[in-house]
């Protein structure tokens, strides 16, 4: 399978945060959800793909081209949507179109105005008056107007109401009808990913915790609950994000470990949200043990 995006060993250190050896690939024709807590490194990774951040080491290839050397050609073929609007608020969509159009060889004005119509956006009102959902749709209309082969969205759904989020899923589903395209979609609202994403990459504290098909992820982990005394010997150490409370415990386990569980413990499929929560709890647990031994 051909990869539309490949990130290999990406490292970037800031004063209080670092991306460590981030490696994953998005095959052409599919949608990847890029998830993780705020501050896990999603935006830094996306900025590196866009050549807006200089990586310390590692390489990124988009359409088989080098993200640094071929940055300009890549940007002609890639559309990006950030979580906040970067447009001048006093302009109308029509004026914005005139400003952005000259930068793109493949810009198609008809497509742009057709998108505005489809998204019910007026082209004669200052975009500063738009609601959050309207701003997001305007940025998508701009991102789609030059017929990009890869669409990258950084937290497009944060702060959107359920109706606007659903509209976004419609737009993305339409876009990926063409199997020569790809979508990388960062979010912490995992319900959206749960439904339409083919692949998932989980970033935790600057490292890749999981990358692979969504089915692999959700079939690999389960949430287990019950009486702590019922846990078979040696299994507690293998649990992720173990948490005990007055009436029992909760933890995440790998589904391969489910076989050794007694029937008295309750097991449920883990949602991506739950997986993220248990990863965070595990990190907290580990932190506590370190400080305990100090």
């Amino acid at each position: 399978m051909e990869n539309i995006l490949e990130i290999n060993g990406l490292c970037k250190t800031y004063r209080d945060f670092s991306l460590k050896n981030v490696t994953f690939a998005l095959p052409k024709g599919y949608i990847m959800g890029f998830v993780g807590q705020n501050g896990s490194g999603k935006t830094t990774t996306i900025r590196s793909v866009m050549n807006m951040t200089k990586a310390d080491s590692g390489s990124i290839s988009v359409f088989g081209l080098d993200s640094v050397k071929d940055s300009i050609e890549i940007k002609q073929r890639l559309g990006v949507v950030f979580d906040s609007m970067y447009l001048a608020e006093h302009l109308t969509a029509k004026q914005i179109e005139q400003q952005i159009r000259p930068f793109y060889k493949n810009w198609n004005s008809d497509d742009f105005f057709a998108s505005l119509k489809r998204f019910s956006l007026p082209d004669d009102r200052s975009v500063g008056d738009f609601s959050k959902g309207m701003k997001m749709k305007l940025m998508i209309a701009i991102a789609l107007a030059h017929k990009p082969e890869l669409l990258i969205l950084d937290e497009p759904t944060s702060g959107l109401d359920p109706v606007a989020r659903d509209e976004l899923l419609d737009i993305l589903s339409d876009y990926i009808l063409d199997e020569n395209r790809g979508i990388l979609f960062s979010t912490h609202i995992t319900a959206d990913v749960e439904r339409i994403a083919d692949y998932v990459t989980i970033l935790h504290n600057g490292t890749v915790w999981f990358t692979g098909s969504k089915d692999d992820l959700t079939e690999s982990y389960a949430v287990v609950k019950g009486d702590e005394d019922a846990i078979p010997e040696g299994l507690k150490e293998r649990m992720i994000g173990f948490h005990s409370y007055r009436n029992g415990f909760e933890a995440m386990i790998r589904t391969e470990d489910m076989r050794s569980l007694p029937e008295t413990l309750v097991c449920e499929k883990a949602s991506i949200d739950e997986i993220l929560v248990y990863i965070a709890k595990e990190a907290k647990n580990a932190g506590h043990t370190e400080s305990d031994t100090l």
């Binding site: 599919y30 949608i31 899923l169 589903s173 990926i176 009808l177 083919d198 692949y199 969504k214 089915d215």
Partner: protein, 123 residues
């Protein structure tokens, strides 16, 4: 073709698609040689991942319910005897379940229901 995805279901989405398509092929509402939506179109219509619809179609192909013609798409497979037999079994089980339900609702014990069934078979 009607596919309804339950998000809260314990069944994985690809399994829900498979079961519903099978049921529609077996009850004849999806006809032999009828063209099915493409994998990408179905994913788009249901707003689900392409990998999920691919998995459902691949399973249905393996089980002989649908066929694929390269470059053209997916079709409901021609009826074969095994499929017909499966359909019969499916309908029998459905009918039996219904009969048992009605019997129990009417206050019969399971033995009485079984006896009634036996009597019908002898007649």
């Amino acid at each position: 073709m009607v596919i309804v995805i339950k998000n809260k279901s314990e069944l994985p989405i690809y399994e829900q698609i498979k079961q519903q398509m099978k049921a529609q092929i077996l009850d004849g509402s999806l006809r032999e040689d009828e063209q099915l939506p493409s994998i990408r179109q179905l994913a788009r219509d249901l707003k689900i991942s392409v990998i999920t619809t691919t998995r459902a179609y691949n399973d249905l192909l393996d089980e002989g319910f649908i066929t694929s013609i390269t470059g053209k798409g997916y079709y409901v497979a021609p009826r074969n005897n095994e499929l017909l037999r499966e359909r019969m079994l499916f309908e029998m089980e459905e009918g039996l379940q219904k009969a048992i339900e009605n019997g129990r609702n009417a206050g019969l014990t399971d033995d009485e229901i079984a006896a009634a069934l036996k009597k019908f078979m002898e007649d």
